[in-house]
Amino acid sequence: MALSKVDVANMLTGVTPVANGGTALSSGFINGFNSAPMVDTWIVTSSFSGTAEPISSNLSRSLDDSAEGHAQFGSINMTQSSGIFTFPQTGFYLVEFFLLIDEQGGGADGHVTAQIEATGDNSSYEEIAWAYMGVGASDITDAGHASAVFDITNTTNQKVRFAVAGQDSSNRALGTSDYMLTGMRFTRLGDT
């Protein structure tokens, strides 16, 4: 027999979650709740030729252009020293690396890589994600995007850095302080 009604007073047992101020539950949370949302964008402010393993300088947080609605998001953000990025608190993070390369006289260059590298002991780094790019014999640019999700449980030991590898010493990665050509974005997805 199909039920068309449920007798709440007599058929339910246990405790149902209670609204807290009408906006959040006081119990019954699920994993992934994001207590501190964050989107933090950094840019490489100068071009360079050849490799950077890792990128260690000319990094700046992307400035807001409030009139156009361009903004960072959240009350927490990443910090970096010599290209090594530290997460502001534990959580799941999406880390993205955008790289734009330019043939500048070095000729065809078929295996340039944008790499995201991570450490779990604040010492030894492993390559986590790669994006391959290539340029032709002359006057060609190419762009790559590498991304990875990290479960950061220890902000002291778990860090990330970024590298440009395999590029001919005469070709270059493009950077400017005006907008993102090469850069990184960190998005906090939720609590760990």
Partner: protein
């Protein structure tokens, strides 16, 4: 699409040496007076002392930029 004509000293700097050997005291005002050597560069997974130890002179930078512009003009009519 052809590369734009080199028009900034940073174009010349990236030709003079490879890697992240230079930096700026003000990256929104990239003039020679604000040019500095990076203390460290990333090489093969390590952050090491910059192998470039002396800034090129302003005249050398400008000469390299003019050389690049002349080559671009010759190639693009």
């Amino acid at each position: 699409m052809a590369r734009p004509r080199p028009n900034h000293i940073e174009d010349a700097l990236t030709i003079l040496h490879s890697k992240q050997w230079f930096t700026w005291t003000d990256s929104s005002n990239k003039i020679y007076a604000n040019l500095r050597l990076s203390e460290k560069i990333g090489v093969n997974g390590n952050i090491v002392d910059n192998t470039v130890t002396e800034l090129p002179t302003e005249s050398a930078v400008n000469a390299k930029l003019k050389e690049m512009q002349d080559a671009w003009d010759a190639a693009n009519g």
